[in-house]
Subunit: 318 residues, 2 copies
């Protein structure tokens, strides 16, 4: 890249933990060249406050504030508000730390004052000093719901309260039909030099993003301009590193394998990243029309996140 030029611009599609880790690696490589489009289907109302689990997991990771080893919240946070909410008879199974809760208070307040969701999120990101931009996939309300043998459940009811125990028999993203990508998301795709689908649950993290009308077309339009698109498998050795993606793939009729995920992205991607452990599935990926890229894809620390991001950008020619 010539001196004085704008750095490369990458759009990453992400859900929670796995997406946040790769986003952190990408931010380490390209700083403010990164735009992360996050799933908002998991967003929920708790105690009258809007909570955005995927946005905030990415936010706290990019800000270096994330709770080590957990997919939510701020390291060292306290729970004084939560305990007192319990004293007033509120449900407490969805744990919100005090510093975390401040974000939900601010965001809810500013939304009620008339700001757009994206504006409110960008302000919070700026306040925490992150370099990248995290863009809600849409400003419209979308609610991921899962059908189990108990019937339809709100996503967090399934995910947190029931600890993903029930088999998921069907998914829906209520509201997505009338949602639209934001101007910020549209612009990010228009300016992108590469697009990365992070190792997030393809069904309930990346799925809602791709279900927003015009979102797939925005990716396809970028590809027609020669912008490479890569996806990173969230399944390694048939297992999700975190979360229920493997069981959900199976119960919804897909294959719980890297190749099974590759099949879901075959019409969108040029490159599919597999872990060394799944090297044997590289041919299957190639047969789907994508270039397989095999590497150590487990991100255990900042260095491995940055390394995977660097390798990924390199293989995309960025």
């Amino acid at each position: 890249m010539a001196q004085g030029m704008v750095g490369p611009r990458v759009v990453a599609l992400a859900g929670g933990v796995g997406g946040a880790k790769l986003a952190e690696g990408l931010q380490a490589q390209i700083g403010d060249g990164l735009s992360v489009v996050v799933n908002t289907g998991d967003d929920c109302n708790r105690h009258g406050l809007l909570v955005m689990p995927d946005h905030d997991t990415v936010l706290y990771n990019l800000a270096g504030l994330e709770q080590a080893g957990l997919g939510w919240g701020i390291e060292g946070d306290t729970f004084a508000v939560m305990d007192q909410l319990g004293a007033y008879g509120e449900e407490t199974w969805f744990r919100l730390g005090d510093r975390d809760l401040a974000l939900h208070v601010v965001r809810t307040s500013r939304l009620r004052a008339g700001q757009r969701l994206t504006q409110v999120c960008l302000e919070a990101q700026h306040a925490l000093g992150i370099k990248a931009r995290i863009l809600p996939m849409t400003d419209a309300p979308v609610a991921t719901e899962v059908r189990t043998d108990e019937g339809w459940l709100e996503f967090q009811d399934y995910f947190v309260r029931r600890r993903q125990a029930p088999d998921v028999l069907e998914l829906r993203f209520t509201g997505v039909d009338v949602a639209a990508p934001t101007p910020e998301v549209v612009e990010a795709f228009e300016l992108a030099d590469a697009i990365v689908i992070c190792p997030s649950n393809p069904l309930v993290s990346v799925g809602p993003i791709l279900a927003v009308p015009a979102m797939r077309e925005a990716i396809s339009a970028a590809r027609r301009r020669g912008v490479p698109v890569a996806a990173v498998s969230p399944i390694i050795g048939g297992k999700a590193l975190k979360g229920p993606a493997d069981r959900m793939l199976t119960s919804l009729g897909h294959e719980a394998s890297a190749a099974g995920v590759a099949r879901l992205y075959a019409d969108l991607c040029d490159v599919f990243v597999l872990d060394e452990e799944d090297r044997g599935q590289a041919d299957a990926v190639a047969a789907l029309g994508m270039r397989p890229f095999v590497t150590d894809s487990i991100m255990t620390d900042d260095a491995s996140r940055a390394r995977l991001a660097a390798e990924l950008l390199d293989t995309l020619g960025i």
Copy 2:
């Protein structure tokens, strides 16, 4: 009182600290016979949450949770949310503790879900196990505003942010004209054996309560039934024990003295309680048509609160 009968029922009108102290004394004497009608003119919106300073000061006092020596908040509370709100660029001059904030979150949430203010407050009181009932003077929004040489200010802007420094030139209670006492307040007056105006600021604490249409008439109707009404002076030796009542009386053309306060209540009360220090003003009170009752009215601890309440009930024949 004969065994098996319902205990005496007292309605107390109260603002913040002084009112809360006498209310605590009354609760110690008559328990669930006490209904406290609280000023809601100081209520405000902070960070999208409804904050009710007077209700909550009374609540925390009656629950034994109040911050010693301060007119707000919960003893030992932490400020993690507040600090983080500051990081997001929110104003932090109105300090809300974490446990305190939980109440504002719950109340705002339940109000938005369609509950009445009084219901929401009664639920919170029940959750904290208090015996008395604290009744907002109205469920309708009323906003106390003060005119200073800077123009009209919201009450908390004057009271907290500017630390009551500016002279108050005029008062208004926006919204009070279309407010109404709640069914709970109406019933409390109908069942009252005595009514007590607590040693709160007569202009901005008791004033808004009495400005609610039908409130004065509810008190007058009780008097016509023979229910005694007493007021306790918040001014001792020409000074307010806490807050700007003395300066506000002067700047608004009243006398900053027990007798000056007595004059404001002359058409409402049968008994007016003066501190020993103001014994010399007893005749002036009598000349206004009220029976002066002189006692040590400074409430420094639980015992003195209970003693003043006991003396007060005794002099009212309760």
